[in-house]
């Protein structure tokens, strides 16, 4: 049995040097006793160096990460655990770390996790108080970590507080940041506490106030914030009192009579009533838009963002009617701005129709969709929903009274005529709709859905022909 003595806060270099020596002697783990106690040697001590030729051990990168964490752990068996894993890797178990259920791997992962947690708690629970030291403003803290983590924890404070001088004292050493330089020093005694008004008054007041006594769950708190950290956190001094009073506070709240209205409540209410927006002329287009926005005739308004009413000049010669707003239209509140809208714009431009001289709207004013995780999938409006929305479409037609209405797709036809018609049968000729001319064609989103590019191009050309017919008709009319 060989005794190997390493310093308690042994770093990676130190451990790796010792491990290389052991491997050079081909010592199996069970013949070595690692210790971090500087006691006299019980067994042989590893003193003389032997040549290390041929002891290059190739370890996975993950092992190095694990090693650097486990070394910080306080457990006395951390060195032998790491050596055992190293030995196994050397003996051919290169993938030993993938054996998550292996006892050694589990233990090492547990230690690494404990070290991570300790680092996290240092980041979270250090409390600086402001001092004056040698004429300089320094933020000083006392913290008691469980493991040897000062090296691992320091960079967080440097990254965050690089423009102030600070000093963190712990029972295992100090970290100081002064004049943009980081220094690790030996342990010092706990600095005598000096008052810090921000920490002692404002912070503790905030801590006490933000607590909701109706939700008392003491175990949930102590699980996350173990009591061993409390002595270095000033706010925790109030915990016993907060816990003790919680039930009485809740009882008092429940028994308290409802509030009498303060006087200014009525003043405010009156002021708000007077500030109600003036309704524009009841027959105006603006008034209609507002009414569409507050329409509750079918359930579609619930999940949708907003109603999307038509857009365009009220004396437009041509009105395009689509199906319903899509995702983008629902977000922006404007019709035909999504992918289908962009294709529509492109087609209009090719034919030479200026979109801003046309009136563009939809048969249904709210977006109907199915939620799918982070996306919304379009669903077809029912006949009932289309019918509920005809009221608004009729009003738009009466307001604009276009020479020609172009129905884009089956839902538009249903909304305009109240009947189902096959687009393929009716397209390509001018129909009559209560004295107004009607042209039927496909919805641009249909063109986007065609999987075959040749078919899509052919259909796009037919769409252009329909638009071109529309242009000739309303320009001649």
């Amino acid at each position: 049995m060989l005794m190997v003595s390493l310093p308690a806060d042994c770093d990676e270099e130190g451990f790796r040097a010792a491990a290389r020596q052991c491997l050079a002697r081909n010592l199996p783990p069970e013949q070595i006793a690692f210790t971090d106690e500087q006691t006299g040697s019980l067994f042989d001590t590893l003193e003389t160096n032997v040549p290390e030729s041929g002891v290059q051990v190739h370890v996975p990168r993950r092992f190095l990460t694990l090693l650097s964490k486990v070394l910080c752990h306080r457990a006395p068996d951390r060195f032998s655990l790491l050596y055992r894993l190293l030995w196994r890797i050397r003996k051919g178990e290169h993938n030993v770390l993938n054996r998550i259920a292996d006892a050694d791997v589990q233990q090492a992962e547990r230690y690494a996790k404990a070290v991570d947690k300790d680092v996290y708690r240092m980041h979270a629970y250090v409390r600086f108080s402001e001092r004056e030291i040698d004429g300089a403003r320094v933020f000083v803290a006392w913290h008691e970590p469980q493991h040897f983590i000062l090296n691992r924890a320091a960079s967080f404070f440097v990254d965050r507080f690089s423009n102030m001088d600070w000093l963190i004292c712990t029972p295992i050493g100090t970290i100081a940041w002064r004049d943009q330089k980081l220094d690790f020093g030996p342990a010092e005694a706990r600095p005598a506490s000096a008052g810090d008004a921000v920490l002692d008054e404002l912070w503790t007041a905030y801590y006490r106030t933000t607590f909701n006594p109706a939700r008392l769950r003491v175990n949930a708190m102590t699980a996350q914030m173990p009591k061993r950290h409390w002595p270095t956190m000033p706010e925790t001094a109030f915990i016993p009192e907060m816990v003790h009073q919680a039930q009485n506070r809740i009882k008092a709240m429940e028994e308290r009579a409802p509030d009498a209205r303060p006087r200014f409540a009525d003043v405010l209410a009156e002021r708000m009533r007077r500030a109600e927006p003036v309704v524009s002329h009841p027959d105006s287009f603006e008034a209609m838009r507002n009414e569409i926005h507050s329409c509750r005739e079918c359930p579609l308004h619930g999940p949708a963002t907003q109603a999307v009413s038509g857009e365009g000049p009220l004396d437009a010669s041509v009105m395009f009617v689509g199906e319903q707003p899509g995702d983008q239209e629902d977000l922006s509140g404007r019709p035909f701005v999504g992918p289908a809208g962009q294709l529509f714009d492109r087609a209009l431009a090719e034919i030479g129709i200026e979109r801003k001289k046309t009136y563009v709207t939809n048969a249904v004013k709210h977006f109907k969709f199915e939620p799918r995780g982070k996306r919304r999938v379009h669903s077809k409006p029912s006949a009932g929903e289309v019918s509920a929305c005809r009221f608004w479409l009729d009003r738009e037609i009466r307001t604009v009274s276009p020479k020609l209405i172009v129905a884009l797709g089956a839902t538009a036809i249903l909304g305009l005529t109240g009947r189902s018609m096959a687009v393929t049968k009716e397209r390509g000729r001018i129909l009559d709709l209560n004295g107004c001319s009607l042209l039927v064609t496909v919805h641009p989103s249909y063109l986007l859905r065609l999987p075959n590019p040749d078919a899509a191009e052919a259909e796009y050309q037919r769409f252009l022909q329909d638009l071109s017919l529309a242009k000739r008709w309303y320009e001649a009319a």
């Binding site: 404002l202 509030d259 409540a265 999940p303 963002t305 977000l331």
Partner: protein
């Protein structure tokens, strides 16, 4: 006598504490550089209060003067609560002072609406702008946006804030109209929509030669619903959530169990919502987002539209689908493993990684999960079969957590 800073803090932290969110996760990682503060991407809880909640941000209102009368809210105009108003510089100084002492990750600022939505939003933006521009503050900022505020102000808020949020408050429009008559559901949804569009535009890949769009709320947006103030069922709430997640690229929907404030309205008695209801809603929300469950599947396990308070929703679903179990731990797909009651995403990933190297027996499984007793009736391993256990009519009782004496003591 004018209020001092400490008194204002007490009033305005009290008013803000009913907002459930206090996280500082996500977003751009950054360091102090010549300024103050950093964002690590990890939400650090600097303390926990005896309600078990994390204190990560300084969560305050700018003012609790409010012209609205939302009856579930402690700051409604008809409440007799003490009122206060911070000056912009007071909030800025308080944030910096607490930040330097390592008490917080940053600021979570909200406000009552004293005058108009725009004036309130402008004040919130001014605080954030002062912190960022005059003090080079690089810590976390979460701003509440005000429904109905102009889009210019919303756009500016996103330049300074890591996260934006706007609360939908109620799962249904009708409930909002009843309990918060002056709020507009449409305005709230329009605000969420605007923020989604801006967030997506700023994270789009830049094309060569184009200037990179300015960062906009890099930690995304969230929203909150008050649970139990209205009569909405859990089904209504989960449906509303699913719609919100699909529509507005939300990082989180928070559920806040209605809790007495000490200033109850006559029309809404101080009757607290059980915290377990909130907890079950979060569990169902997680099943929808991370466990591959669909809304109709969750709804199957909602007798009467409510989640079972005595068992978690995954167990409730599994008990009504016993024919799909037991599953073979060594062969089942990831999707199926995620449906085993008691296995979380981490345990499932561990199982999948470990079983590549060796067949897993009960002993190994014990190391990968902390609740093998709960898992056992639903799985098989080479050394374990549940046999009759799965058909046991009392399985629910066996697996439901034993009612515990609520721990109040600080033992």
């Amino acid at each position: 006598m004018p209020l001092n800073l400490l008194q204002k803090l007490e009033i305005l932290a009290e008013a803000a504490k009913y907002d459930a969110s206090c996280v500082s996760s996500g977003g751009d990682k950054r360091k102090a550089g010549k300024g103050l503060g950093s964002v690590t991407g990890q939400s650090i809880c600097h303390a926990f209060t005896p309600d078990g909640r994390c204190v990560s941000l300084l969560k305050i209102l700018l003012t609790n003067f409010c012209k609205y009368d939302c009856i579930y809210c402690v700051s409604r105009r008809s409440s007799n609560v003490r009122r206060a108003r911070f000056k912009v510089d007071e909030v800025v100084q308080l944030t910096l002072d607490l930040y330097r002492r390592n008490c917080i990750e940053g600021l979570f600022l909200s406000s009552g609406i004293a005058r108009s939505a725009d004036e309130t939003m402008a004040d919130l933006v001014r605080v954030a702008r002062t912190l960022r521009q005059e003090h080079a503050f690089r810590g976390y900022i979460h701003l509440k946006t005000i429904p109905g505020a102009s889009s210019e102000l919303l756009d500016e808020a996103g330049l300074y804030a890591d996260r934006l949020s706007m609360n939908v408050e109620m799962p249904a429009e009708a409930a909002l109209e009843e309990l918060a008559p002056e709020k507009s559901a449409t305005e709230i949804k329009q605000g969420l929509a605007r923020t989604r569009v801006k967030i997506e535009a700023s994270s789009e890949r830049t094309r060569a030669g184009r200037a990179r769009p300015p960062r906009f709320a890099p930690a995304g947006q969230s929203t909150q619903m008050v649970v139990g103030a209205d009569s909405s069922s859990d089904r209504d709430i989960l449906r509303a959530s699913a719609g919100l997640y699909a529509s507005y690229a939300l990082e989180r929907v928070y559920y806040s169990a209605f809790s007495p404030t000490g200033h109850a309205s006559a029309s809404l008695p101080a009757r607290p919502t059980p915290l377990m209801r909130e907890h079950r809603l979060y569990q169902a929300d997680w099943l929808l987002r991370f466990y591959g469950f669909t809304l109709p599947e969750i709804e199957e396990a909602l007798p009467g539209g409510m989640l079972d308070l005595s068992i978690d929703p995954k167990l409730a679903w599994a008990l009504t689908h016993r024919d799909l179990f037991p599953v073979d731990i060594n062969r089942a797909s990831r999707e199926m493993l995620l449906r085993v009651p008691g296995l979380g995403t981490r345990a499932v990933d561990g199982i999948i990684a470990a079983r590549k190297h060796a067949s897993l027996r009960l002993a190994e499984l014990k190391r990968l999960t902390n609740s093998v007793a709960r898992v056992r009736p639903f799985i098989t391993t080479p050394d374990w079969r549940p046999r009759a256990l799965l058909d046991d009519a009392h399985l629910k009782d066996r697996l439901a957590p034993k009612p515990q004496q609520l721990s109040l003591a600080l033992s």
